[in-house]
Amino acid sequence: MWNKTTQGKPSSAVPQPAAAATVTPVTAPAAPVPPAVSAPTAPATERSVAPVATGTSRINAGLKIQGEISGSSDLYIDGEMQGKIRLANAQVEIGPNGRIQADIEARGIVIEGSVQGNLKAGESVHLGPASRVQGSVLTPRIGIDDGARLRGKVEMTRADSPPSASLPQSHSPAGSSASTAAPEILRPVAASAKDE
């Protein structure tokens, strides 16, 4: 009983064709080196998402964007964004100044800032020490640094699940049935916070 195996891990990923990388890049490819991201302290799930590389599309601090972002380029956001991010075969990193109100779907997701929305990753999700996430996380692997704040559900998928499965609609928490495991998002509560 105590050594229950992990058989039958829930997985809500529905195989679908890969998302077409049609939409234009958000900003012109830029060369600047991204800000350093602290290494995870928890070795259980090493951060497998590589740092944002040259050629990554960037939305820097001070910029706001609304709408849907899709395509195949890696994306770094340190500004504000509202809408939806679908980069099924790319990596998305939210910088420390990033304020996102969007569902994010990507191969790898790194959060150092604040996200209100569901995260769905084909490979891994990493929550940095100052990250704040309000929404569910659906991923085969997750890394959580001490100090990270997550309000929502963590659900693990199989690593071979296609990353392009569509994100579920955000709705009030924990409404899923036992087997389909739809990630959920919680309603916002409060504003200011004192970090521990």
């Binding site: 009983m1 105590w2 229950k4 195996t5 992990t6 058989q7 039958g8 891990k9 829930p10 302290t41 928890a42 070795p43 259980a44 799930t45 929550l127 997750i142 890394g143 959580i144 640094d145 001490d146 990270a148 704040r149 997550l150 309000r151 929502g152 559900k153 963590v154 659900e155 693990m156 009030s172 928490p173 924990a174 409404g175 036992a178 087997s179 495991a181 919680l186 309603r187 916002p188 509560v189 409060a190 504003a191 200011s192 916070a193 004192k194 521990e196």
Partner: protein, 236 residues
């Protein structure tokens, strides 16, 4: 759930400061600092045992999110949700205070009673459907809530728990000397993580008060540690 249906020989809870007695385990456990406090928790063991019959049980941790806790439940095939309730409450109070401070005189600037505060808070927090959870980890957070708030909170906890579901709560027998959070190391060990004080210890519950608080629950079981912390399990 019937306690007698699942009989387990249980030793009294013990408290260990030195981690040296524990063999280092690979993975998350290895990340524990050598000086960390570990607590052998029989209530956690019992909690896990009680939900073990439920395939893919849904568990809500009302403390902060920890890698080790998430990994622990995910590895067992459970679904884990987290909501740092005490922090959310403090943020809510701060926001409420700010609202009162900035509200023009005579316009919605009335001070709310604890129960009204709780009701307003619960309009946004702990929004889980009825009977949707099989286990809730409350840790010691009830000690830090205003006594006027805890009954409302427990109503919601009861509402969210599936019949037969179990809630785990810790109660200090005297005001806690320091504020700490809890993370699961293994099926019977939690780590006490010292943290900057988020809230002051508000109330020392008497056993009678605890039973009243969990009055809607079907049964309860309490383990008392050498440090006089009471670990309680309540089955809905």
């Amino acid at each position: 759930m019937n306690w007698t249906a699942k009989i387990r020989a249980s030793a009294p809870a013990t408290f260990s400061v030195s981690p040296s007695s524990k063999a280092a385990k690979p993975g998350p456990v290895a990340a524990v600092a050598p000086a960390a406090n570990h607590r052998v928790s029989n209530s956690l063991k019992e909690f896990l045992w009680l939900i073990s019959d439920v395939p893919h049980a849904r568990v809500l941790d009302l403390g902060p999110v920890w890698q080790s806790t998430v990994s622990f439940f995910v590895d067992k095939g459970y679904r884990i949700s987290t909501e740092d309730l005490l922090r959310t409450w403090k943020e809510y109070l701060n926001a409420e205070e700010e609202r009162m401070r900035t509200a023009p005189i005579g316009e919605d600037g009335e001070k709310l009673s604890p129960s009204m505060l709780a009701d307003k808070f619960l309009e946004a927090a702990l929004q889980y459907p009825e009977h949707s959870l099989h286990g809730i980890l409350l840790w010691d957070l009830l000690d830090y809530f205003d006594p006027g708030v805890t009954p409302r909170l427990m109503e919601r906890v009861c509402h969210m728990l599936h019949p037969g579901g179990v809630a785990l709560a810790l109660f200090h027998s005297r005001p806690a000397e320091r504020f700490q959070r809890y993370r699961i190391i293994d099926s019977q060990t939690v780590e006490l993580v010292a943290a900057p004080t988020l809230a002051v210890h508000a109330h020392v519950f008497q056993n009678r008060e605890i039973l009243e608080l969990f009055g809607k629950f079907r049964s309860s079981k309490t383990f008392v540690g050498r440090d006089q912390v009471r670990e309680a399990l309540f089955v809905r």
